[in-house]
Amino acid sequence: MKEEEQHQPTASPESKWNDEQVLVEALRQGDEAAFGFLIDTYYGSLLRLAMAYVPSRAVADEVVQETWMGVLESLPRFEGRSSVKTWMFRILTNRAKTRGKGESRYESLDTGNGYGDGDDEGWREPERFQSSGALAGHWITLPSMWDEETPERLLLSKESRMLIEQAIDALPPVQRQVITLRDLDGVDSKEVCNILDVTETNQRVLLHRARSRVRKMIESQLYNTKAER
């Protein structure tokens, strides 16, 4: 597997742009194929992140468009201190924040907990644990074993895919932003903190709440019970 990956660069015309310095230099020189590579690679991720900030698909599309233009504008000033991906995500979040303002659902909800998600307890499932007695805090019914093929099986069905997307959609915006970057796009925690301007601790708390909610939805989907939100 490793070997195949290493052979790729010479075989695939795009792969030279996996080297970000080469990519940025080609973009600066106006290499259209390099720009094609950039938009093909990041369109989906940018759109997903934009959707976590603004209320409608139409506005998200506009934010992504503006982001590409912002990328071109600031290209001469890009110094390579962050990855190209982080740099683009930051351009997007700046634009998206401006657009999302005034939409109360998309403003952070400060409930005094400092996490901005207004979701102190809703992600927890206290009903699953013994509330008193010697075994307080232990499972009432043990969680079951999910089989190895669960992700593939879930994603094969359009219906479960939509349910997962809806579960993400229903998260408080800041949780959605964190889980989108971390788990859907595989951005590491340091970069996420940098992109979203949150501390590592906040990022972890938000991620945990978001994952817990999505897990719960998948579980209810597996057992065909109605998803609780």
């Binding site: 106006g30 259209e32 720009f35 094609g36 938009i39 093909d40 369109y43 989906g44 991720s45 759109l47 997903r48 468009q65 590409w68 233009m69 071109l72 927890r124 499932e125 206290p126 644990f129 007695g133 010697a134 075994l135 307080a136 805090g137 232990h138 499972w139 043990l142 969680p143 079951s144 074993m145 999910w146 669960t150 992700p151 593939e152 879930l154 994603l155 895919r161 997962i164 997307e165 993400i168 889980i179 788990d183 859907l184 595989g186 925690s189 590592e200 972890r204 991620l207 945990h208 994952r211 817990s212 999505v214 897990r215 998948i218 579980e219």
Partner: protein, 92 residues
């Protein structure tokens, strides 16, 4: 009384944390941000508790599922429009 004792012994064997506490700590565990002693207690609990092992696995499966969620492909018109703008930018 016997039940209380049984509970206490189980709690001790299970690393001195409850399943509910473990569920709350999962992301910190996966992120590697627990202290050494917290991590040890977490792992001792896991060793004794099949429910928590399954729950941890469910969380990992959730993460894997999210990582495989396909993103939307770019519509051809959008792509062409962008390339057109790139050409204009290049000239300017």
């Amino acid at each position: 009384m016997a039940n209380d004792l049984k509970g206490q012994v189980m709690h001790l064997m299970a690393g001195n944390i409850s399943c509910q506490e473990l569920a709350d700590l999962i992301t910190e565990y996966l992120e590697g941000s627990l202290t050494f002693s917290e991590r040890i207690r977490f792992q001792i609990h896991l060793g004794f508790c099949v429910g928590c092992r399954n729950y941890l696995n469910q969380m990992k499966t959730t993460i894997r599922t999210l990582g495989k969620l396909p993103s939307e492909p770019m519509p051809t018109e959008v792509r062409e429009e962008l390339l057109k703008r790139f050409r204009t930018w290049k000239k300017g």
